[in-house]
Structures are given as C-alpha cells and as structure tokens.
C-alpha cells in the first residue's frame, strides 16, 4: 500500500508500514543533532506518536509534493517545537523567555568542521537506501513465496554492476540450470527489481513529477556519501 495514498480509514496501517520502512532516516536525522542515542530514540518515538495523534497522513496528498520532503518538514517542526517546550519546561512555565533561533542553531551545527555531511544529506541518503532495501526485500519475499529463495539469493549479485558479478556459468552450476536459463532469470530479476523501485519511488513522489528525475535525485543523494 502506498504511504501517501492512504485515506483516513487505513492511515493507521499505512503509518505502521511507514514506520517500518522509513524510521531509520528519521532517527539518523535526529541522532545527528542529538548527542545521546537514548534521547534520539525517544524523540523518534515521540515524533511518530505525534504523527499518529495529529493524523498527519490525512494531510498528505501527492499533488502537494514529495512525501520525503513533507516528512522532513514535519520532523523539523517537531524538533523545533520540542526544543521550545524543553526550555519552557525547565523554566517552569509556558512563557517564552528566550528567543531561540533553531534554524540558526542548525546552520551553525552544519558548519562545524567535524560534520562534513549535513543532517539533511544523511536523511536523503538514508531514505534512498531504505527505499532500495525495501524494494529488494519485496522482490526477495516474492521469490520466497514461490519457493525460489535460493534462486534469488544466488542471482541477486547480478542486480549490481557487471564488474563484481561472477560469470553466469558459476551461477548456472550452483543452481543446476543452463547458462541460458540463468541469463533469462537474471534479466527477469533485474526487470522485477526495476519495477519494485519505480513503484516504491512513485509512492512517495509528487503527482506529475518525473520518475526519471526522482531516481536521479535518489542517486545524487547516494553520491553525497563517500
């Protein structure tokens, strides 16, 4: 089910799915800004709890933009609010006694020499990895459901570049198939994985956006990490 296509009745299920797939980019973004792993975990939990309580998915619509960007905006607002509330609580009241500029603080953090990769880039990168992993898991599950897990496990290496893949003869010997049959199976596996990626990317991108462009954005976010 598409995370962004969910209506009110199915939003809880959609959110479960969403948390299962994309919790890590959220956690990584928060963790980059929070010294303690426990605090980051608590904040991640709190973010998703608030997301459920406020039924934020009801506001999600493909024509409003990329779901990835929407989630990041929500997360930023959540963290900014959380920051204000923390300070207010410490001072024993709901009055705003200090003018905290969270955006400025974030900019300053990003300029720290020890952090060459910004939290946003980490978020984008981890989102792309999660999407690729999700599609991979989906295809793997499909093979398993048809009793062909061994074929997937042997052939998945061919989803990567040719340079690192063994000769087809090797896979053919391992699977007891002809080389031609392996070639055909690899071709189908690549095509199925392409479809899974396209579906996954399409679920979270804005209406009428170019899928090709979205895939290139994902590739760029992966290139940001060295």
């Amino acid at each position: 089910m598409s995370a962004v296509a969910a209506d009110g009745q199915t939003s809880a299920r959609a959110l479960d799915e969403l948390c299962g797939i994309y919790w890590y980019p959220i956690y990584a973004f928060i963790r980059r800004q929070t010294p303690s792993p426990d605090d980051a975990a608590d904040l991640t939990q709190a973010f998703f709890t608030q997301f459920i309580e406020r039924d934020c998915l009801a506001n999600v619509a493909p024509e409003k933009g990329r779901f990835r960007s929407f989630l990041l905006v929500c997360l930023r607002r959540f963290l900014a609010n959380q920051h204000r509330q923390d300070h207010a609580a410490k001072r024993g009241g709901g009055h705003k006694t200090l003018s905290l500029d969270f955006a400025f603080a974030e900019q300053r953090y990003c300029r720290e020499p020890s952090h060459s990769i910004t939290p946003e880039k980490i978020y984008q990168h981890d989102w792309a990895v999660a999407l690729l992993a999700r599609a991979l898991r989906q295809v793997s599950d499909e093979f398993a459901a048809r009793g062909r897990q061994q074929i997937f496990d042997t052939l998945k290496i061919y989803l990567g570049p040719d340079e690192t893949a063994p000769a087809y003869a090797q896979a053919a010997a391992a699977l007891g198939m002809s080389e031609t049959a392996v070639k055909v199976a690899v071709h189908r596996l690549r095509d199925r994985y392409r479809q899974a990626i396209e579906q996954e990317a399409a679920n979270t991108m804005e209406q009428d956006a170019s899928l090709e462009e979205e895939l290139h954005i994902l590739l760029e976010s992966l290139a940001a990490v060295k």
């Binding site: 792309a128 990895v129 992993a133 991979l136 998945k156 989803l159 690549r190 392409r194 895939l215 990490v225």
Partner: protein, 446 residues
C-alpha cells in the same frame, strides 16, 4: 548509521558498504545505477519499435517520387522516417529520409530538416554520410542520402559489450576526423551518440566482427545532422531553435549546453565524443562519480587523460579543437606496448649496464630519486642536455601529452594527466610500478 564501524568500499564506485547493510550486501549506488541502465535500455527498445503515426507505405512514396523505387521502411530517426530506396537511373541503393508535413507538431522541424539537407550537401568527407538530393512534395520533405549497410555503433555495443580499446580508438579517431572537417566549416553536429555513428562495411559482408571489419577497410560514418548548427548563420538558427532550447541526447549533452542561453560550440561535440569513447571502453555512461576507464578496462592511463580532457566541465579545459583530439587519439592508437619478453630482456641489459657503470666508475655519477620508485624502460630515464624551461608551449600542455619531467638531476618520460595553474600532474609508467605525481611546470618540457 552513515559511517558504520565495519565497511568496505564498493569495488566499482567506492561507496562505503557496511558489512551488515540492509541492502543484502549490495552497493545501493550500483543497484540504482543498474536500475537506471535497465530503464534506459527499455526506453531505447520502445523508441525503436514505436511506429511513426501514419508512416506512408513504399508504394505511396514511390508515386510521389518517380525517380525512386522505394523498397522498405528501415528506421525511425528523431527527425523522420528512413526508407531503403533505389535510384532508378543509377541503379544504386540509397537512404530516403522523409518528414510527413501533416504529422508535424513542431513548426520548427521543417526548417531544421532543410538545415540538415543544406549542411549535409556542403560536406564531403569519408567519415560523414553524404547527401545526394533534397526536396519537398505536397505531403513530405525528403532527403536522399548514401545508404550505409552496416549497423550503428549502438547495435555493435549491444552485441559486443565493451569494445576492444583498439577498436574504440579507431572509431573515435574516425569520428574526430569527421568533426575536424565539419568544425573547420563552422558546423557543429550537436548530437554525437552511438546511434548516429554507423559502421559502413562497404561492399563486404556486414556480420563480420570488428577485427575483420577494420582489416577489410570498413569505415565509420557520422550520420544525422538533423540538429546540427551552422555557425555561419547564427541569426537564422536562433530563430529555428530558440536560445534556450535544449537539443541533443541527455547523456551526451555537455554541461554548459544544459544551461539556458548557452550557445553550443565545437567543444560540446568533443564532450559528447568523450562520452561515446568512455562508453565504448567501459560499457557505461560516465555519470556521477564514474570510475576511470583504466580501472574497469584494460586501457592505459593515457586514455584516461584523453577522456577526462574531453569530459572537462569547463569547455575551455577540453581539447582546443577536434584536430587536437584526433592527434591524441591517433598517438594513443599508434602506441604499442612492447612484448613482455622484450621488455624483460631490455631490463636485464640495463641492469647489467648500470652495474658496469657503477663498478667501473662514471664521469656522471647519478643519484636515484629518493621518493620515486625506479622508472624503467620503455620509459627509461634519458639524460637530457637541456635545462628546465618555461617554453611557451608549456601553456598548451594537454592531458595525454608525453613530456620529459626532471626529477633530481635526471629527466624521465611521463604523461600529462592534468594541469592546474603552474602545477602539472604527470603519470610515470614503469615496469614494476606506475604512479601519478604533481610537479612544478618548470620541471616539465616537451
């Protein structure tokens, strides 16, 4: 985590891959690159089979063009339909390219078609497909051209995968020769890509492999000047394309041509040819963080330098002309690594000679560079009489040039990889080791 405690670089792209990655040990960057490749291949197949609306039958065309016997539809180009036809008077096969006027969505296409005809008619080069005749009927614009019986480079690459470096260089040399000719006449092709490079076997069989193709005099031909631009008629062409209109095929478009308002130049053709050369050698497009050809194919670092120069983001850092590129390619093509046995024999002789000189003394005592490993033949150090120079030619040093570099009091042969200001990155190629080294330009000479 972004930097997992245990990770190793992907052998292809260097991505830091975690041992316990959620992508099942597969590199995410390569996974996505593969998906994009698969999509691209699919698109190409679709483009090939997608029918042109209302493609006229050969009989209908023939009735409108009595001088021709139109035989069959053979291809669908970006700028029209291509038929195989026969000139009745000369009894020779030709390619007939037509553009059905009614089917045109874009009012600029007829003018572009005529531009192509005009440009092709003015070009006569062995590596460019020749135009024979152009005209217009009430329903179609048409262009009669030489018929090339061979496959396109794209088809050859699909069949053979990566090309042998010698074949790739031969193809690139012939295309750079065609570009030298066209650029000298102020014509920029603007759509250099494997689909527009045809392998013409002449009268010989078309299914021969590339060794046989070149051995029997096969020629590479540059086709489809449909979006070519004549620098002789800039004003007229501006009205055809508009200053911000982007032409070409995405992967082969030079970075500067992606910017609005930037006029194409011969350098953009050289960029595209660099992409084609890279693709021939490695089987992939040089997009994003691409590996050097020598990392993924058995080619020399000199070829890396040639390709990197073509792919420079700044057009002023590319070769100054197609002729200069042609010169570098032919030089690389002429380079034949000496047989290993011969090299070993030469090394042994040099070692003996060095021992004799050391043992019996020499009027020119030498000190081996302390930080440089020994560079041996065929790039053996050759003492030179000249001193380092700031010769004017220094300022036109280009990647791929073979130069002499002073190290200690000795001169060594090396290849220029890159130049930055007054520093030059040179590549030393020895028997036992090869490495790059930055040196001051005052230590480099021709």
């Amino acid at each position: 985590m972004i930097s997992p405690p245990q990770h190793h670089p992907c052998p292809r792209c260097g991505y830091p891959l975690a041992a316990d990655s959620i992508t099942m040990g597969l590199c995410p960057r390569c996974l996505l690159t593969r998906v994009l490749d698969v999509r691209k291949n699919m698109q190409m197949q679709l483009d090939r089979i997608r029918p042109w609306p209302d493609a006229p039958s050969p009989q209908v065309l023939q009735a409108a063009m009595p001088g021709l016997e139109v035989l069959e539809l053979i291809a669908r180009g970006g700028m029209g339909l291509i038929y195989r036809a026969r000139q009745k008077d000369l009894q020779r096969d030709v390619a007939l390219k037509i553009l059905p006027i009614d089917a045109l969505q874009d009012a600029t296409i007829p003018a572009r078609f005529q531009t192509e005809a005009r440009i092709l008619a003015g070009l006569n080069h062995p590596n460019i497909v020749r135009a024979i005749e152009a005209g217009q009927t009430p329903d179609w614009l048409y262009l009669v051209m030489e018929l090339v019986h061979g496959p396109s480079l794209r088809e050859v690459m699909k069949r053979e995968g990566k090309l042998h470096p010698r074949h790739a260089l031969t193809i690139a040399a012939q295309i750079s020769s065609a570009l030298t000719y066209a650029h000298a006449r102020q014509i920029i092709h603007r759509d250099i890509k494997p689909e527009n490079i045809l392998l013409d076997p002449g009268d010989r069989p078309t299914d021969a492999d590339l060794d046989a193709f070149f051995a029997s005099g096969g020629r590479v031909r540059l086709a489809d000047f449909g979006i070519a631009k004549s620098l002789h008629h800039p004003v007229q062409d501006m009205t055809l394309t508009g200053p911000d209109q982007l032409f070409g095929t995405a992967d082969y478009i030079a970075p500067e041509c992606r910017q609005a308002g930037h006029a194409p130049s011969p350098a953009s053709d050289l960029y595209a040819l660099g992409v084609v050369l890279y693709e021939m050698l490695t089987g992939r497009i040089p997009a994003g963080h691409f590996p050097l050809p020598s990392r993924v194919a058995p080619v020399s670092r000199k070829l890396d330098a040639i390709i990197l120069c073509c792919l420079a983001a700044d057009p002023s850092e590319r070769y100054a002309s197609a002729d200069q590129l042609h010169h570098q390619i032919t030089k690389a093509l002429a380079h034949r690594p000496a047989p290993r046995v011969l090299l070993l024999g030469t090394l042994a002789l040099l070692a003996v000679a060095a021992w004799v000189v050391t043992f019996f003394g020499s009027s020119h005592p030498r000190t081996a560079p302390t930080t440089l490993p020994v560079i041996s033949a065929p790039s053996a150090p050759q003492p030179k009489e000249e001193s380092p120079t700031t010769h004017p030619s220094m300022f036109v040093l280009m990647p791929g040039d073979t130069v002499h570099v002073k190290w200690g009091d000795q001169w060594y042969d090396a290849t220029v990889v890159r130049r930055e200001g007054r520093r030059v990155l040179v590549h030393f190629d020895g028997w036992s080791n090869s490495f790059d080294q930055w040196v001051g330009s005052d230590r480099v000479k021709w």
